[in-house]
């Protein structure tokens, strides 16, 4: 009986010691996550059955910065809609490579070639793609008012041969 008690005390002591070491080595990690992580509702824009853009509300877990939140928002947009009545304007093979925001409230979005290689084309389809991205970012983040599109880190003139995106684009 005494032996069992000693083993139990040893295990408990080891556990407490382990927790104390973890707290000394990583003092802020847990508290930082608890402090900043919270849920936020964002509006994602998809194409409805009539060909217009409609928003779908989605809850995201916000991160430390607006930049990270904007990236999460774009990743959710690429995932596509949850409502069956809405259609994604972004080809499913698209990957977000990077996103950053400059001092002029312009978001630079770098996608892989999936965005242009698998785009269905047509002026209407192209405008839907461009506008769904811009509207999603500018509606949810007042720190963004224009978008500059990049493919594999390079500037491009157009997605499928119609609309000029060589310069940052704003919603008119």
């Amino acid at each position: 009986m005494k032996k069992v008690l000693i083993i139990l005390i040893c295990v408990l002591s080891l556990y407490i010691l382990f927790k104390l070491i973890k707290l000394v080595l990583y003092p802020n990690k847990e508290t930082a996550i608890q402090y900043t992580t919270q849920r936020k509702s964002v509006k994602l824009f998809f194409v409805n059955e009539d060909g217009n853009l409609n928003n779908e509300n989605r809850e995201i877990i916000t991160d430390k910065t607006i930049l990270e939140d904007a990236k999460i928002c774009m990743l959710e947009l690429i995932k596509g809609p949850q409502k069956s009545t809405l259609i994604s304007a972004i080809p499913s093979s698209t990957i977000l490579r990077e996103l950053y925001i400059d001092n002029n409230k312009c978001a630079y979005i770098d996608f892989n070639k999936g965005l242009i290689d698998n785009h269905p084309g047509g002026t209407a389809g192209e405008l839907n793609t461009i506008n769904s991205i811009i509207k999603t970012l500018t509606t949810n983040f007042e720190q963004i008012n224009s978008v500059k599109f990049l493919i594999d880190g390079q500037e491009i003139n157009t997605i499928s041969g119609h609309i000029d995106i060589s310069e940052p684009v704003e919603l008119k």
């Binding site: 409805n48 059955e49 060909g51 047509g122 209407a124 405008l127 119609h162 609309i163």
Partner: protein, 243 residues
């Protein structure tokens, strides 16, 4: 006698040159652009490609112009299935010094219900307006970007003629076999149109992603009617310009 003969020859020559010049002045050049081509198929549906539809319509339009109106000269940015870059299309149009530029396309949307025709001319962005105010200090390549700004009003006039003509052809009168939704005249920033130094318009003739529009495109009669509507609009615009 010899002097009189010389004088008569010179007079006849001058008269002939005058006639040729008068005829040349009356010539109205239309640059017709079949969207996409070659490795760039444009949009498609089950192997039916935009580049083939636009080329077929453009070749039909050229044939009608040749047959019906001698004062119209049509120049094509491509007359076969080959890739022509947007920059080369702009250079060709500007070097040809056309009176009008018309680019024909087939539309597509993520929504299968989206249908009908729409007509575009370029938009004057605020950035470009700023650049225009500082033309003297603007590098040449930026001025090239501004080329279309001077022709937006005329582009809008031609877009208006096209809309009326296509609407009349398909939606008015007794025969509504190919009735199409009129999505109107719109302005957007087109990479192709912005460098064109003449009134320029882009027509999205219908949606290949829509079953009804796609069926229409497969019928020669539909394309012939489209060509007739476009031809009438070009004539109407030309007559207004030479008045």
């Amino acid at each position: 006698m010899e002097t009189l003969k010389k004088f008569l020859i010179i007079a006849i020559l001058l008269f002939s040159v005058n006639i040729v010049l008068a005829f040349a002045e009356d010539e109205f050049k239309v640059i017709i652009d079949a969207g996409h081509g070659g490795k760039d198929g444009g949009t498609s549906c089950l192997g039916y490609k935009e580049k083939d539809i636009t080329l077929e319509v453009v070749l039909l339009l050229q044939k009608v112009i040749l047959e019906k109106e001698q004062t119209l000269k049509s120049l094509l940015t491509r007359s076969e299935d080959k890739f022509v870059s947007l920059e080369d299309r702009i250079v060709f149009a500007n070097q040809s010094q056309g009176n009008l530029f018309l680019s024909l396309h087939v539309n597509s949307s993520q929504s299968k219900k989206d249908n009908g025709f729409e007509i575009y001319y370029n938009v004057l962005s605020s950035d470009e307006a700023d650049k225009e105010n500082n033309k003297e200090n603007t590098p040449l390549f930026i001025l090239w970007d501004l080329a279309q700004n001077e022709f937006l009003k005329e582009g809008a006039e031609f877009a208006d003629k096209l809309q009326d003509s296509i609407e009349t052809m398909f939606n008015k009168g007794e025969d509504k076999k190919f009735s199409m939704r009129n999505r109107g005249i719109k302005q957007s920033s087109f990479i192709l149109l912005r460098g064109i130094r003449m009134p320029a318009v882009l027509v999205e003739m219908g949606f290949i992603s829509n079953v009804s529009d796609e069926e229409n495109f497969k019928q020669k009669e539909f394309k012939e009617k489209y060509v007739e509507a476009i031809f009438n609009a070009i004539l109407s615009y030309k007559q207004k310009k030479i008045q």
